[in-house]
């Protein structure tokens, strides 16, 4: 009897552990909206973009060499796809005590320096990065409006060469974006990339 009770207890505990692990967004997931502070001091939600058909959401930051290497390409993505209904929404979720450069003030400075044409939002509580399941910077998500939902269509990398844009052979995100705009299914909807870890509070 004791063993049965014990195994039930163990089973319950392990089920609890499994359910406590939040699921990272994958293609097909319904994404949550948020209300985060932009570098201009205003609060921004995806719902504010009435005319958008979707979004290119990027979890990025100021200090990470990969984020820096991709800044100009992210600006290029916004310039290419915002007019087609998919603006870039950049989010920094890093803890400033671990990465001081990634403070809100640092974001304002970086956005000015690079003349970001898109919003750059501060996820100070890190709730949005956790909900989306972002782990590294830059970590990209394409969201598409379907009725009242925001459906994840693509998760992952921008392309296949972070260091040298001239050596890129696979534009993973642009391919996905072009398929979405053409009304097609996204053929490669999930990719991986090396990146800096998101600096979680209390990990150091």
């Amino acid at each position: 009897m004791k063993t049965i009770l014990l195994s039930i207890a163990v089973l319950c505990c392990s089920l609890l552990l499994i359910s406590a692990t939040p699921d990272a967004y994958a293609p097909g997931s319904k994404a949550t909206d948020f209300k985060l502070k932009n570098v201009d001091g205003k609060m921004v939600s995806l719902a504010d973009y009435k005319d958008a058909q979707g979004f290119i959401v990027t979890f990025t930051c100021n200090h990470c060499p990969f984020s820096k290497a991709y800044e100009d390409r992210i600006i290029g993505l916004h310039n290419k796809y915002a007019a087609k209904g998919y603006p870039v929404v950049a989010i920094n979720s890093n803890d400033k005590t671990i990465a001081p450069e990634d403070s809100y003030e640092g974001m304002i400075e970086r956005a000015k320096e690079k003349k970001f044409p898109f919003v750059y939002l501060y996820d100070e509580s890190q709730e949005i990065a956790k909900t989306y399941g972002a782990t590294r910077t830059p970590h990209m998500y394409i969201l598409k409006k379907e009725g009242k939902d925001l459906v994840v269509k693509y998760v992952g990398a921008i392309d296949d060469n972070s260091d040298d844009p001239s050596m890129v052979t696979k534009k993973y995100l642009e391919n996905a974006m072009d398929e979405i705009l053409a009304g097609k299914e996204v053929s490669t909807s999930s990719t991986k990339a090396i990146g800096c870890t998101i600096k979680w509070k209390g990990t150091k």
Binding site: P65, I98, A99, T135, R136, G156, A157, D160, N161, S162, D163, D164, M167, T169, K170, Y172, T191, K192, A193, I194, G195, C196, T197, I198, T203, K204
Partner: protein
């Protein structure tokens, strides 16, 4: 007079070459090298740490890997540090970093920019964030997408796996 001079040269030569004997020279490799390491099956324990010079959490855990190498040098533990620095920074950044920090472990710079093509081959659960560490002991493979926060934490994983 000629004889002592040649000994002098010999001593210079030996003292100059010694560090190169002790430390395997850092190399630039393709994924096939890492892939064969991942399929390494022997009675020795293999620890592969993915890092980069610009990655702060990677750099702060490096001393624990170095200490592991030092403490288990007589046992069958093989330690490889796979640098994900950009290839163009191999001479200007990676090599000076290794020298400055006296890294004794073998360093391989992985030049394979299409990350998506190989991350899953290292481990399907890896998101691509670094540091990340693979431990292979016989047929057993363990994967850690995390920073080790102490030497003890790392040693506690390795110690039970070492065949006495």
């Amino acid at each position: 007079m000629k004889f002592p001079f040649s000994i002098f040269i010999l001593i210079l030569f030996i003292s100059g070459i010694q560090p190169q004997i002790l430390n395997a020279q850092p190399k630039i490799v393709k994924f096939s090298t890492i892939d064969s390491l991942l399929h390494h099956r022997s009675d020795s324990l293999l620890v592969i740490n993915f890092w980069a010079t610009w990655c702060k959490p990677c750099v702060s855990e490096l001393p624990y890997f170095e200490e592991l190498k030092k403490n288990y040098s007589s046992e069958k533990v093989k330690l490889i540090l796979v640098s994900l620095d950009f290839k163009r920074e191999f001479e200007s950044r990676v090599k000076p970093f290794i020298e400055k920090n006296n890294i004794a472990s073998e360093v391989l710079l992985l030049d394979e920019p299409d990350y998506n093509s190989w991350i899953d081959k290292v481990d399907a659960t890896w998101s691509g964030a670094i540091p990340a560490t693979v431990v292979i002991a016989g047929s057993k493979k363990m994967f850690f997408e995390k920073e080790f926060i102490s030497y003890a934490e790392l040693e506690n994983i390795i110690k039970p796996l070492i065949q006495k």
